[in-house]
Amino acid sequence: MSTRTARDERLTIFREQVRAFTTAELVPRLPHWEALRSLPPEAYRLLADAGLTGLQVPRPLGGAGRDIRFSAVVTEELSRGGATAPCTSLLAISNTVCPLLATHGSDAQQKRWLGPIIRGACIASIAVTEPAGGSDLARSVQTRARATGDGWVLNGEKLFITNAPVADVLLVLARTHGTSGLLGMTLFVVPTACDGVSVMRLDKLGLHASPTGTVRLRNCHVPTKALLGVVDRGYFHVAALLEQERLLAAIAAPAIARACIELALDANPGLRRSAVALHQLAVMLAQAEAGRAFAWSLVETMRRGDANTTGIALAKAALGDFSRRVSATCRELGSVTEGPATAALERMARDTRAISVFAGSSETMRELAGTRIVAAARRKRASFSVA
């Protein structure tokens, strides 16, 4: 067996395991978690026991040492099973908090936090977004960290923070120099039990089984050892992961679309007798397949260490908007009777709405991609002129 074939085989086996886990452990509990409007601690332990929280953390640090493709499989399978909300909470830990601690954390930080997070004994969250803006961190981050003799004092407010209402620890991005710009921001490890930290839960349209909150920091004092990574370079630590977050959102979108198409047919068997409805679903299915192929081509590119910022931005915008349209259409087509399939369709239609909004809205993504496309064409013209 060639190395490549063996790798693909491992991915296939892993997919089957994740699919079985989603079906057996997550899907039956979703209605309860939805009603709770949160994800209880035992859910995080469940995800940890399945080996999903430390998926991309190197083995010596207690993780599974997998690459981005395995995270893509997890995202795809959980999304397809309708577990978009637990997936959102999981990815905030497995693909943001854990990689940051694994890459930039001190030995003490890794021992104190990373191990327990991977085991599901501790819930973590990353606090980056602020009320003044969204993914435009260069301008929007106003939370300040002031150096004192024995540490730092943090003041500010964070908004739309996944897992915050149940988190034990936060990774907070705060400005340590200047008032704007990409330089001058630093990451800190802040336990939620610290004096000066208060968290408030937010009610949302969907993703009910993924707790979201605001975090207020009022004269919150943390010791020097709370510093994560390099002072003033926090944005750059986070930026690389932001791209991965967008790519995984693009992976989720076609999976959700495909699930909605199948649910619509389950919820309303009469659709199979309507050529018009079937053709509508067939066209959406084709688009979902194409979207999936595109998102996976970007995953392979990222795995090779190449960044495709333009492609990822376009994928997130186009596929996010597409899954929103599909889930809304399928909800209309399928919602003729009450039942589990109809309930799942309604939940997915609500949950999917978030994809076009978080981690950079569709408009922000189009602006980012459009500007880069024009800039690349200008560079090409300039090089031809010189030649």
Binding site: R272, L278, A290, A369, I373
Partner: protein, 355 residues
């Protein structure tokens, strides 16, 4: 591999009316035709894809489609079923650009516009006779010979594969009565046209799988041509928009224009990813009909929406028949009309994946 960059800027222009022979002659003159001959090189399909891509990017969609029809099904069937003499008789001139081929795959004779007698093939004496007409056939007029695959009248489970010269007096060729299209399409009509014994390649029972295998390759190359055309038009329009002054600035300083380019680029990239995945899979095993139909649906949609979006950005210039965007727009609009309709493709996908 055919070096697309070696094609001159003026290669394969798309005139107002188009004859498949033009493309054939130019392909032969450019020296690229022989490299796409499956007899010569195992990488012929790679060369052919590169050629189609290069032509498509230059906006010569109609020429690319003509060459695809010439170089795929007729070549494959003659190679698979023809004896040495038949291969020498037909493939030699075809690969030298001296004869243009078309393929008439008549697996569903009841289809097509009303008023046409579907083509039937029947055995008579010790040979076969063709009757009826086949509308929307590529490279007609212009083609010198056709490879015909048609079920036998008295035993539809058997299909006859035959080659027939199209200059016989009992065969009529008519171009589509419209100058709205740049594609080389028309109708072939047979009036009890006799297929000589030397023209019969063989008879098969598993005609569906045969047509699927060769037809899928052709359809995926149509997708490549359409998508490459859209990519080329998008690049050209981007260049235009950057250079187009808007007061002190350029057209691309308008946010709405940048977003329009982003949307079109997304359409193309998504379609490209599916096409590449299916073409890669096609090298190992033939993709199923549903997957090919999905690819056709998505790539044709991306091509038409992109060319339409480019025409919009170009404004009045894009509305002139002299502009290559308009030709690409006109040809792209015909994709679903000439090849599989959206409804047919959706039906195939629905039947296979949703029922």
């Amino acid at each position: 591999m055919v070096d697309a960059a070696s094609l001159t800027t003026e290669s394969f222009p798309t005139p107002r009316t188009f004859d498949g022979r033009d493309a054939l002659r130019q392909a032969a003159d450019e020296g690229v035709l022989d490299r796409c001959n499956p007899r010569r090189d195992n990488d012929a399909s790679v060369h052919l894809r590169a050629l189609v891509r290069g032509m498509g990017r230059r906006g010569s969609l109609s020429a690319a489609l003509s060459l695809i029809v010439h170089l795929t099904v007729p070549f494959r069937l003659i190679r698979q079923f023809g004896d040495v003499g038949q291969q020498r008789r037909w493939l030699g001139p075809a690969v030298r650009g001296e004869m243009l081929a078309t393929a008439l795959l008549l697996s569903e004779p009841e289809n097509g516009p009303r008023g046409h007698r579907p083509v039937s093939i029947r055995s008579e004496d010790d040979g076969f006779v063709l009757d009826g007409s086949a509308p929307n056939s590529m490279n007609v007029p212009g083609a010198d010979f056709a490879v015909v695959v048609a079920p036998l009248c008295d035993d539809p489970s058997v299909a006859v594969i035959a080659i027939i010269l199209l200059d016989a007096p009992d065969i009529t060729l008519a171009s589509r009565a419209s100058d709205e299209t740049g594609l080389a399409i028309g109708t072939v009509s047979f009036a009890n046209s006799r297929i000589p014994a030397t023209g019969v390649l063989g008879q098969v029972t598993a005609v569906d799988s045969l047509l699927a295998r060769h037809g899928h390759e052709q359809r995926l190359l149509f997708c490549e041509a359409a998508l490459s055309c859209a990519e080329g038009m998008l690049d050209a329009t981007l260049d235009y928009a950057i250079a187009r002054p808007l007061g002190e600035r350029s057209l691309t300083d308008l946010q709405v224009v940048r977003h329009s380019f982003a949307d079109r680029a997304a359409d193309i990239m998504i379609a490209r990813a599916l096409l590449d995945a299916v073409l890669t899979a096609n090298r190992e095993e033939a993709p199923d009909a549903s997957r090919v139909s999905m690819t056709e649906l998505v790539t044709f949609k991306a091509a038409t929406s992109t060319v339409d979006g480019c025409l919009q950005v170009l404004g009045g210039r894009g509305f002139l028949v002299e502009h290559k965007i308009l030709r690409a727009f006109r040809d792209a609009l015909d994709l679903h009309a000439i090849f599989s309709s959206r409804e047919t493709l959706a039906e195939i996908i629905a039947t296979q994946d949703l029922q």
